[in-house]
Assembly symmetry: C2
Homo-oligomer: 346 residues x 2
């Protein structure tokens, strides 16, 4: 990939204060792009102003919902590439508040695409879809032809939004790519949000010196993708010529290799791992093993994940240790509580 | 099927003033059920008070949106079976007003299922899904394992609602069946709505004595299902024990045999059929040939379509001729305009 192609490009990143969005925005800035970030900082969606603290003044920030047509008219004018990563990220939240998930993950995208069609019809859009749309894998590795049978409302709405992107290409001539991401981890992920997934729970517990609890036997497989590799997939998907005469493409994005949850836990915490029974709320939305067949993306763009889990998790833990006061508020809480208890006893 | 099992059953039909809903409600009434109909008569959705004129006083009618939680508390109390047929029916409308389609076909169903869970958790729900969720068939006949790749927003939202029904079964323990209906035709369909599909256009033109226009070469196949056969599928799906330990099932519902659009047109209008080029708006959402593999429904319930197209269309045309003043307002309009023109000339 010729990175010079991002120099002076006008690019928009929605959800750009979130985990993957902020890493992507910072990378685009380093590549010389003129970066605008849209983020509504919706409670629980993982947005964090601190994620872009090192780029204050260098990135234009618009605090708005992507479904806000007036704000998007301003945000989209002149954009050449659009990275659409806004959305609700908690699968468990989606079971408790499915209508909120519908608004954030489907309706807002429908409105956003109408705005794109009006204000930036030439800009390619790369959408952050999710492995969640497949539900429980019926075979492994999972390719793009795997049946769509989401096991939670989040998956339903991610698939609706992904299909909106396809339809705005097929019907209205926009150019859209959807990346069905596997589990992504790394710096700037919101560790303090409950039920976001096992990886944030593992990392947060390890940083607090607590033992990791693996639900069930821990043999379920996941292909963990380091965020820098995910960002690279977005960049390549933004530039590669679309195959054939299609206006759209859908690609899986997987990690370097499948690892069991137990292996993942041990890599993070060494021997300090215990196995506990599956809580009911998690069991209901558990999908067993997942890892992606992402040969389509590899052959289309030359992309491949570079960062092994051992290396990625080391970088991740180092980042959070350096920024514990920001990303681990519960660590401070716990310390305060321990201090208070110590005072009470002594 | 033991029809006596509907006697004195409390049943709810949503969208019960619409095409299939009203035929279903009338049939349930004949089977001795205590029928409540919910219909919001949303403009363009095919609801028509006249559809139930013969049952005034015998069917309880609640004029409300299925997403109205307060009205649904009353509508759902004590129901033993729920037939959920409410929704936007125009695929072309869904392209022009996708957010309206999202509200009517997805959001309302999410709210309705929450109401069902609260007020009638024991009642089986039979949902009217659609072949539209498959998009352009990748093989024929189309079975339930066919990829989900809707070619319009209507299909996206029908699939979302179908998946809501599955998730409310899997997560919350409701019992749900979704019937993916092929093209249905027959009495009480709203002929006056634009762009609802070719069959209403064909029937309306034939009734007005206009020649039928087939887009393209007319070789695309469809398995046309007479509404009485569709109603029978709903009744059987409401009573048959679910296989295995699942709380949900999804079944295709097809017609007796595939017919080409040209055959369909000639059966309706004899030789008075012309071929015209595909209009752009229709071409964009055309899906080629479709006919269903519905062996799952047949083996599960013993259902099979009984009414051949020749017979069904004869009954359909006879019904509309008997009720032209109600169902063919454009016939009156056209007559008025012709009369006015005659006055102007003479």
């Amino acid at each position: 990939m010729n990175r010079a192609r991002f120099r002076d490009k006008a690019v928009l990143v929605t959800g750009g204060l979130g985990f993957i969005g902020s890493n992507l925005a910072l990378r685009l800035l380093r590549e010389g792009a003129r970066v605008t970030v849209v983020d509504a900082l919706v409670e629980g969606c993982g947005g964090n102003s601190y994620n872009l603290v090192e780029a204050v003044g260098a990135i234009r920030l618009i605090a708005a919902d992507i479904g806000d047509s007036v704000a998007m008219a301003e945000a989209l004018a002149g954009q050449q590439l659009i990275f659409n990563l806004a959305g609700e990220i908690s699968h468990t939240n989606s079971v408790r508040f499915p209508e909120r998930d519908l608004d954030l993950n489907a309706r807002s995208h429908l409105r956003f695409l109408e705005s794109c069609r009006r204000w930036a019809p030439q800009a390619r859009i790369v959408y952050a879809s999710s492995r969640q749309i497949y539900g429980t894998p019926q075979y492994l590795p999972v390719d793009e032809r795997h049946p769509i049978q989401p096991s939670d409302f989040n998956g339903v709405h991610k698939f609706a939004a992904e299909t909106y992107h396809r339809l705005f290409a097929a019907i209205h001539g926009l150019e859209t790519v959807s990346l069905r991401l596997t589990n992504v981890y790394g710096p700037r992920q919101a560790l303090h949000l409950p039920w976001q997934g096992f990886i944030t729970t593992f990392v947060a517990r390890a940083l607090r010196g607590e033992s990791l609890r693996v639900f069930g036997d821990g043999t379920q497989l996941r292909d963990m993708l380091y965020v820098d590799d995910a960002v690279e997939a977005f960049l390549r998907a933004a530039l590669a010529p679309l195959p054939g005469r299609a206006h759209w493409l859908v690609c899986n994005v997987g990690g370097p290799r499948p690892l069991s949850l137990t292996e993942i836990a041990r890599t993070i915490a060494g021997a300090d791992v215990t196995h506990v029974p599956f809580p009911e709320t998690s069991r209901l939305i558990d999908i067993g093993s997942y890892y992606a067949d992402d040969r389509l993306l590899r052959s289309w763009t030359g992309w491949a994940p570079r960062v092994e889990f051992t290396e990625g998790i080391a970088r991740t833990l180092a980042f959070y240790r350096d920024h514990a006061a920001i990303y681990l508020p519960q660590a401070a809480d716990t310390a305060d509580r321990l201090a208070a208890r110590a005072h009470a006893v002594h």
